[in-house]
Symmetry: C2
Subunit: 450 residues, 2 copies
Amino acid sequence: MAKNKINTSVLSGFVELLPQSQFVFDTVKSIIENTYKNAGFVAIDTPTIEKSEVLFAKAGGETEKQVYRFTKGDNDLSLRFDLTVPFARYVADHYANLTFPFKRYQIGKVYRGERAQKGRYREFFQADIDIVAENNLSIMYDVEIISTIIQTISKLSSQFNLGNFKVKVSNRKIWDGFFKQFGFDDTKKVESVAIIDKRYKFKTEDDFKAELKEKIGDEKIFNLAMALLKIEYIPNVGISIPESHYNDFSFIKDNELMREGISELETVMKYLPLSNTEVDLSIVRGLDYYTGTVFETYLQNYPEFGSVSSGGRYEHLCDFYTDKIICGVGGSIGLSRLFIPLIEDGKIQIDTSMTDIVILPQNENCYTSAIKIKTELNEKVDAKVNVIFENKKFKKMMEYANKINAKFAIIIGDDELQNNTFTLKNMITGEQQTISSITLIKTITKTLNK
Amino acid sequence: MAKNKINTSVLSGFVELLPQSQFVFDTVKSIIENTYKNAGFVAIDTPTIEKSEVLFAKAGGETEKQVYRFTKGDNDLSLRFDLTVPFARYVADHYANLTFPFKRYQIGKVYRGERAQKGRYREFFQADIDIVAENNLSIMYDVEIISTIIQTISKLSSQFNLGNFKVKVSNRKIWDGFFKQFGFDDTKKVESVAIIDKRYKFKTEDDFKAELKEKIGDEKIFNLAMALLKIEYIPNVGISIPESHYNDFSFIKDNELMREGISELETVMKYLPLSNTEVDLSIVRGLDYYTGTVFETYLQNYPEFGSVSSGGRYEHLCDFYTDKIICGVGGSIGLSRLFIPLIEDGKIQIDTSMTDIVILPQNENCYTSAIKIKTELNEKVDAKVNVIFENKKFKKMMEYANKINAKFAIIIGDDELQNNTFTLKNMITGEQQTISSITLIKTITKTLNK
């Protein structure tokens, strides 16, 4: 920082990238966006600023403390802290003009004044998909949300070499029915489920077991809960309870919630690709608005990121805003949390360059020709074309072309001008040829479309 | 609004679009982005929230009053009101890691708490391009900025049928040199130039003349100023002063600022397409940071929008943040101000649909087949594919397909399932055929790529 000058660093917890990293991040974002779009979701955009009464209709506690809230004139305003609450308001507000089932995606920045730490940002992108309808919505849309997430992460993983991942799927109704069966009140149920939700955050499985056992109190119920945590999905068979406990669970046939939960989970698993999914009843999802299917996604090679995409089924999305019963299912990819550290640590690379072609006129006489060939390239080829008017030595210009990673350099000097030609240098192979504009465009098109 | 529910309308001065309108707006945005990118500009993104001391280093008066400013913890924060100040901070902060000339684009939301009125939003998108370098920058980059703006607006105009447009170009040095010649002090100069800047906002040209004459005071100088307003660019000749005043302007040969300004304007005009540009010395641009070339852009069919794109040359961009001398030239398209009213008034249409293909399984038995063909389409065709699990009557499903404007419907019933076929209906021609998945994908690809 220079003397007497204003400090130019971004605020703590905020992030901005150098152009090359920004280019990688934007590529990630556009892969997500295209996959969402081709999966049948349509974009919406909502204001970053909302009335505080809208955002805090449901939120409370931790969330409310983190929000950027302020007044302007008479208005009590807040920056959105997620994309779900604004979506609920949007659906309520535009209800009459939407076609249901309404499938929307939204990729945008959200704001939380959390304590700054690596991978936790105060401004970050979320990429959400949701499917909503009035009164009821087929369980098949739970399948659709999870398969779109799988499609998207598969693409990102193959493009950026992220390795295998698993979506862990569960259904809230199973635990709800289970604890109801044994007469747990709401508080005890919520506390027990909260321990299950944190299973993988305990130092050891024994620590987890000890805490769960203490909370549940009854050894028999605890044992049943542990057995329930072992259920899995077997193709062509369905959800299977460990054989040793088969008789202990005979109560399920009269427990409607558990039956529903198991049947929904079975349907969801039936239609999802087995290679990327597994049943795991320790997935509960902290947020209290989920009511059925819940899921989280883990990258095998990057356990430190925790879940990189999660979501689930909810009822009563818009209750604070309308009398209509809007239910839905959604999922979200936390792209900043995952990709900004990966990019900053140089863990992901990209083939495509920020510049395809750089045009280097060697003196002022060549400027008209440079502008003409640039215009022609922009009209005929979908390529990033940069032109430099620097009157520098040839060597300096080549250094610049290398620095910006151009794939081609087009050199125009007095000789080229006189012969109405261009010298085209392939910066990767080093090959160089002096050719007409027609041949130049053909050669570039051929190489770039490879 | 339902009883006892929270009001869901967006804040006054804010805007959100229905999905179909959002789709048009996003198309506009991506045309701008692709043109910028292919013209050699690279993307950056900066936080929406900045330290107030950064934003207000130069701003003052009206701007400062409009800003959304608030505190969080110990921090005095503000939402960015343009993309230029954050860019200046970015260049100063990342100076050592940038390659100059640095050409960046940034398309993002900015915030101004202006009085709400049609076409004036409190949250709106700007689409900026700038080229910056240290110490000096060829006048050819002024050409590049304006030609990129022309390229972009031409594309938008031909896509959305906006008609002709003109970029009006001027150079500040000409007026600076002119008023200096006659010994105007800074205040009188600024006030005279401000009147010239508002020329087209006066009710009549006579009103304008009267006010300018009064301000200038001296009739001879006033007449010269009026003559200067008539200068134009003649191809292969250059900037031409009205013949009747030729001798009155003989002082120019000793007025370095005016000579520089005229020579720069001549160079800029020489390389720009004449069909979309004209010299107009009434263009001054209010902001005081412009120092040379300035331009504004007008749509012939939509004079009510005023200038839809403007910009110019500036020196000392980063003086508040660094000792380096960073100079540059930039331009901006106010896409919200132009396109949101056009979209909301139904004045622009779009051919492409939000949905290319809708898959309609007719009962639960057909779900697996529906998911399979969707996956296959997503892998093999770049198309937006929606699948609906509704178990509704065929007629209802067709209504839905029509409502979402799908180009193709794929119907899967028991017959199709048994024969391992699909019924493909072209929703535009009404043509319907029952075919294998291979033929289906071929037919769709052929039609969509037309």
